[in-house]
């Protein structure tokens, strides 16, 4: 009986601690693997500086590639309201930054010299005229910084070019690798 009183809670404790650790490990490794193996892409960006409750101060990064002209969307628009993910093909430009060459509501095939990034799900409502631009997120719009350190990035935004290097895996998920001002690295992300 006294044995059972120890075993049951101990078993429960081991089980929940293990499950929670595995979950955290999965979260970490799914991101680290993108940094390790993903294709590298450099994007142009502008930051601002808010905070969230549990993860602290962060810088909002918005990208040139977040706004996609409708003329670059191939394969047409959906006829009904849907929750869609846009496949966006990026190609390197002469200035070193990557830009949108093509986008589609269906998956795009891989092509030499290009990288396909998948947008976060968004709600698309069809209208008689297609919109001039589609604004999408890629899940790399936030960069968490130590408390109070968002300012330098904010100040850099006004006078300098901010570049963000991301790595993209085969499924199109992007992960921030480095943030640089005028080509000088400011933050470099370790794997773990």
């Amino acid at each position: 009986m006294s044995n059972n009183r120890l075993i049951r809670p101990l078993f429960a404790a081991l089980l929940v601690a293990l499950l929670q650790t595995v979950f955290l490990g999965y979260m970490i490794e799914s991101r680290a693997s993108i940094l390790r193996n993903g294709s590298e892409v450099v994007l142009k960006s502008v930051p601002v500086d808010p905070r969230d409750l549990l993860r602290g101060d962060y810088v909002i990064l918005s990208y040139d590639v977040s706004s996609i002209p409708s003329s670059k969307v191939s394969g047409g628009f959906p006829a009904d309201p849907v929750t869609a993910q846009l496949s966006v093909r990026l190609e390197k430009q002469p200035d070193g930054f990557w830009a949108v060459s093509e986008a589609a509501f269906d998956p795009l095939p891989p092509k030499q010299g290009s990288v396909v990034m998948l947008s976060a799900p968004f709600n698309f409502y069809p209208s008689t005229d297609p919109p001039a631009f589609l604004n999408v997120d890629y899940g790399i719009e936030r960069y968490y910084v130590p408390e109070g350190q968002g300012k330098p990035l904010e100040e850099a935004r006004d006078s300098h070019t901010l570049s963000v290097t991301v790595r993209v895996d085969d499924r199109g998920t992007a992960q921030i690798r480095e943030i640089a001002i005028e080509g000088n690295p400011l933050y470099q992300e370790p794997l773990y």
């Binding site: 009183r5 120890l6 809670p9 101990l10 429960a12 404790a13 081991l14 089980l15 929940v16 601690a17 499950l19 929670q20 650790t21 979950f23 955290l24 979260m27 970490i28 991101r31 680290a32 969230d52 409750l53 549990l54 993860r55 602290g56 101060d57 962060y58 309201p81 849907v82 929750t83 976060a120 799900p121 709600n123 997120d137 899940g139 790399i140 719009e141 936030r142 960069y143 968490y144 910084v145 130590p146 408390e147 992960q175 921030i176 370790p190 773990y192």
Partner: protein, 368 residues
């Protein structure tokens, strides 16, 4: 609360010679020894755990560079293991209060760990998913340890998830329908409440159900839904309060909550319907129905359910004021409406008093 009132009544009965003083003391001692009874020490322990947990959550949010990133993640996972294992040891040794506090602390740490990983890899726009994972983990802990304290945490996390989804607010039929799964959270929390006997968390679940139905009304809008909410609330209230109902015993076991929240739902439906009606006939119908529902609640459940009684009084007063200020057609017409209502209610009161006298006379006869 109940403890204070019953002690007062016991003293009264003892002074009247109806109850032996020793029996009264023994009954109070039995009540105080129940595990569900309020204990200042236990509550303070849990609150201490909440404060410590918050300290850890904010330490994560501060993103403090003095602790290297890898040390942070290893540290927080170590805390999770330490707290769960210590909780298990406390339960085995019989220190259940400390065990419950440690479980709360450990489960809060897991939320902090999710936030930490999100911060490390700059994940954006995933707050609802993170809360869902946290909620699921808390539910598993509450179930495995049969912990009332963690069940309360589950109730709060369900609310947080609801709030986050409302904040993201891109739900519509056929699209991102995460908000339509909130009733599942309510069912899970209520099941946990019954299993772990966490009385307080029940209100979190019922209030969440009410809030969700309120959101549904705003989202879809339309008189038919308001009417459906009213009808659903009324039927549930009758099922919970009428002695003839098959669910009556089950509802009474869980206290005043089922009757009160179903009554509140009916009132909510009626409140929305007030905005939907037009034309004198409909206005009179809705006004009369509201007054009838308020009085019906007081008559049917008022005696055993103080919460329903006071909500009934409140609805009755507000509706009377509303009708008086809105006026049904003309001031004279409203006056006529109140005249007829007054006569009808007076007649019912007379009938109810006679009925109550007859009912209370019966047991007396049996004893004699």
């Amino acid at each position: 609360m109940y403890r204070g009132r019953i002690e007062k009544d016991f003293r009264h009965w003892v002074s009247m010679g109806m109850l032996d003083a020793r029996a009264a003391d023994a009954m109070l001692a039995e009540y105080d020894a129940r595990p569900s009874v309020f204990s200042a020490g236990r509550v303070l322990l849990i609150l201490a755990a909440v404060l410590l947990g918050s300290a850890i959550l904010l330490l994560v949010a501060a993103n403090w560079e003095a602790i290297p990133r890898l040390a942070r993640i290893v540290g927080i996972v170590a805390l999770i293991w330490t707290f769960y294992l210590s909780a298990a040891l406390c339960f085995a040794r019989g220190f259940s209060a400390i065990g419950a506090a440690l479980l709360v602390l450990a489960t809060m740490c897991f939320g902090g760990a999710i936030a930490l990983v999100g911060q490390m890899y700059h994940l954006s726009g995933d707050a609802a998913d993170a809360l869902l994972a946290w909620f699921a983990a808390a539910c598993l802990v509450a179930f495995l340890f049969r912990s009332a304290a963690v069940t309360v945490l589950c109730g709060l996390l369900a609310w947080a998830l609801f709030g986050q989804l409302i904040f993201d607010n891109d739900a519509y039929f056929g699209g991102n329908g995460s908000l339509y799964f909130i009733p599942a959270l309510v069912v899970i929390v209520i099941a946990l409440v019954r299993y772990t006997q966490a009385g307080v968390a029940r209100h979190l679940a019922y209030l969440l159900a009410l809030a969700w139905l309120g959101w549904l009304q705003l989202e879809i809008s339309g008189g038919w839904l308001a009417f459906a909410l009213f009808a659903l609330g009324l039927v549930a209230f009758l099922l919970a309060s009428l002695t003839a109902s098959p669910l009556h015993r089950l509802a009474r076991e869980t206290g005043a909550a089922p009757a009160f929240y179903s009554f509140a739902l009916a009132v909510m439906g009626l409140a929305v319907l007030h905005g939907e009606v037009n034309g004198l006939a409909q206005e009179i119908a809705i006004g009369a129905t509201t007054l009838a529902v308020a009085l019906g609640g007081i008559v049917l459940a008022g005696r055993v359910n103080g919460a329903v009684r006071f909500l009934g009084y409140a609805v009755f007063s507000v509706e009377t004021l509303y009708l008086a200020s809105e006026t049904l057609g003309s001031i004279l017409g409203t006056s006529g409406f109140f005249l007829i209502s007054g006569l009808v209610v007076g007649l019912i009161a007379w009938l109810v008093i006679r009925l109550e006298k007859r009912l209370s006379a019966k047991p007396a006869l049996k004893e004699a």
